[in-house]
């Protein structure tokens, strides 16, 4: 009867590991705060908002242009990916013949699995030269938006498809019984019914776009300035961290950690909203 009372120690062991893994979040947050402290204590954080430029070596820490750039990229990418993604989902669920549908789904999964650095490489070598022909310098807000769109499209499409599939069959049958055309069934009944699921997928995509580093670092041009034109090179918050961590020291380094902290809080807020919506969709 060797392992008769093994459950007790195993249970304690497993729980300690679980607590340890839960503590990772605390560890991540506390190290971010610790490293960022010189840049945020005693009201130092105000300079992030007040300073009108990012010259960390001269003590100027205005990150608003980079926040705006990150937001502009994200919003632009969502504006493109939402209609494309939702119509892809509609295609997948209602229009695609069975074999085409499974190939299409496979393709979306493949697209989702491509490393972001490869999107960056492709964007830099294929997309940017195309934009240059239109308007220099090529590396720009537009390039970042397009690459991000490609990256978040699968997320939007796959979560929307899941939400559409989850719409109760009776609702579809009811709409068909009313004599609605397929288009009206989809636009008036199905999309509204799947709304929360789709929005929660979009929020996840927003979080991914905001947190993305490599792809935007490689194609956006990385000039710290307000995003005033689609063709202007801009620098995202994430890209800034990746670019300057290598040589940052002192308050500069703290400033980078502070921007990482800000980014994390933003993304956590979005993830929390998405999960609220998901549980709402499950209940209702």
């Amino acid at each position: 009867m060797l392992n008769k009372h093994i459950d007790k120690p195993v249970s304690v062991l497993l729980m300690s590991i679980a607590v340890l893994c839960g503590l990772i979040l605390l560890l991540v947050l506390s190290f971010l705060v610790k490293e960022a402290w010189p840049a945020i204590n005693d009201g130092a954080w105000r300079s992030f908002l007040v300073d009108d430029a990012w010259y960390p070596l001269e003590g100027l820490f205005g990150i608003s242009p980079m926040i705006l750039a990150s937001l502009a990229m994200t919003v632009g990418a969502i504006l493109l990916a939402l209609p494309l993604g939702v119509s892809s989902a509609i295609f997948l669920v209602f229009y695609a013949p069975a074999p085409v549908g499974s190939v299409y789904r496979l393709m979306l999964n493949l697209l989702a699995g491509i490393p972001s650095v490869i999107y960056g490489l492709w964007g830099l070598t294929k997309l940017v030269p195309l934009i240059v022909q239109w308007q220099a310098p090529g590396v720009s807000l537009l390039a970042a938006i397009l690459v991000l769109t490609l990256m978040i499209l699968p997320t939007v499409a796959l979560t929307s498809a899941a939400a559409l599939t989850a719409v109760p069959q009776e609702l579809i049958a009811g709409a068909a019984a009313l004599g609605l055309t397929r288009k009206s069934q989809i636009l008036l009944v199905l999309i509204p019914a799947a709304k929360t699921g789709i929005i929660s997928g979009v929020l996840l995509a927003v979080a991914r776009a905001l947190g993305e580093t490599m792809a935007v670092l490689m194609v956006a041009g990385n000039v710290v300035q307000n995003p005033t034109s689609l063709f202007a090179p801009v620098r995202a918050l994430t890209a800034n961290i990746a670019l300057e961590m290598a040589y940052a020291t002192g308050t500069h380094r703290a400033g980078l950690f502070a921007s990482g902290l800000l980014l994390t809080l933003l993304v956590l807020l979005l993830a929390w909203l998405a999960s609220r919506l998901r549980s709402q969709a499950q209940r209702g």
């Binding site: 009867m1 392992n3 008769k4 009372h5």
Partner: protein, 280 residues
């Protein structure tokens, strides 16, 4: 607190009741005393007292939802699986209260086996389904295990059917074979008591008859407590019968007695109505 003060039905314990002529020497194997069971705030069973006799088959009958299955799972502490389940009262087994915290649950479950409504062989080979519990209970000698496995499979009449494919999946067996395998899996541990929760209800009529015949064969060697909705089956297999009923949404034991007696001369109006099919 005395046994009888808090309950409205007389406890059906050894020597205190009119159960008619005993079928065998009535030795109490389990003495259930004032057992109550609640899931969270909801009480599902209250004030049940009865004896389970050694070597006999006791059938638990009554409508769905009156706590028969809960009663059964309390007897081998499967109720421990959910922390919100609260069991009160006592069940004496070998002079010890098996509900007490001091009892070693794993050994208890080896001694009191359980068969479920839906056959649940593990997704392993036929052999490993029996081998695994033996190994886990410390039977380390491979030869002894092989022998015990063969005996158990012979006991349930499965040996001839599966001897040549012991290493193929247990899930490939038919429903009736799966249920007999589950019984063999319990028997291989040489338990003293078998709890059966509607063991035939998920089977087709022919398999059901085979399993029923097997249960009858177990009589005398094992103490069996069986939940069944099939009254005819209860009459065919059981020595004793206990009738459960819902009163104010709480399961109660209404009547307990020799099976024959309970069916032919029920003491309680509800029992009479239930077995004649006018209630429940």
């Amino acid at each position: 607190m005395t046994l009888t003060s808090s309950i409205n039905t007389r406890p059906y314990t050894l020597g205190s009741m009119n159960t008619g002529e005993p079928c065998c020497e009535p030795i109490a194997h389990l003495q259930v005393q004032n057992l109550s069971l609640a899931y969270g705030q909801k009480t599902v069973l209250d004030g049940v007292s009865l004896d389970i006799y050694k070597g006999c088959i006791t059938a638990l009958i009554g409508p769905s939802g009156c706590g028969k299955t809960s009663f059964l799972s309390a007897l081998n502490r499967l109720t421990d699986l959910s922390a919100s389940t609260r069991v009160r009262g006592s069940v004496l087994f070998d002079g010890e209260d098996l509900l007490s915290d001091k009892v070693d649950v794993l050994t208890l479950r080896r001694r009191i086996g359980m068969i479920f409504q839906k056959p649940n062989p593990f997704p392993l080979s036929i052999r490993r389904n029996l081998d695994l519990p033996l190994k886990e209970h410390g039977v380390n000698d491979r030869k002894i295990r092989a022998q015990k496995i063969e005996t158990a499979l012979r006991d349930v009449g499965l040996w001839d059917e599966v001897a040549d494919r012991l290493d193929s999946s247990a899930l490939a067996l038919s429903g009736g074979q799966q249920q007999r395998l589950c019984i063999a899996r319990a028997l291989v541990l040489e338990p003293e008591i078998l709890l059966m929760d509607e063991p035939c209800s998920a089977l087709d009529p022919i398999s059901s008859a085979v399993v029923e015949a097997l249960i009858i064969r177990l009589r005398g060697q094992y103490t069996v407590v069986i939940v069944t909705h099939n009254l005819a089956q209860a009459r065919r297999v059981a020595n004793y019968a206990a009738f459960f009923w819902m009163k104010e949404r709480v399961g109660k034991l209404i009547e307990f007695g020799q099976c024959q007696n309970l069916f032919e001369k029920p003491n309680h109006q509800l029992t009479a109505a239930y077995i004649s099919g006018t209630q429940g």
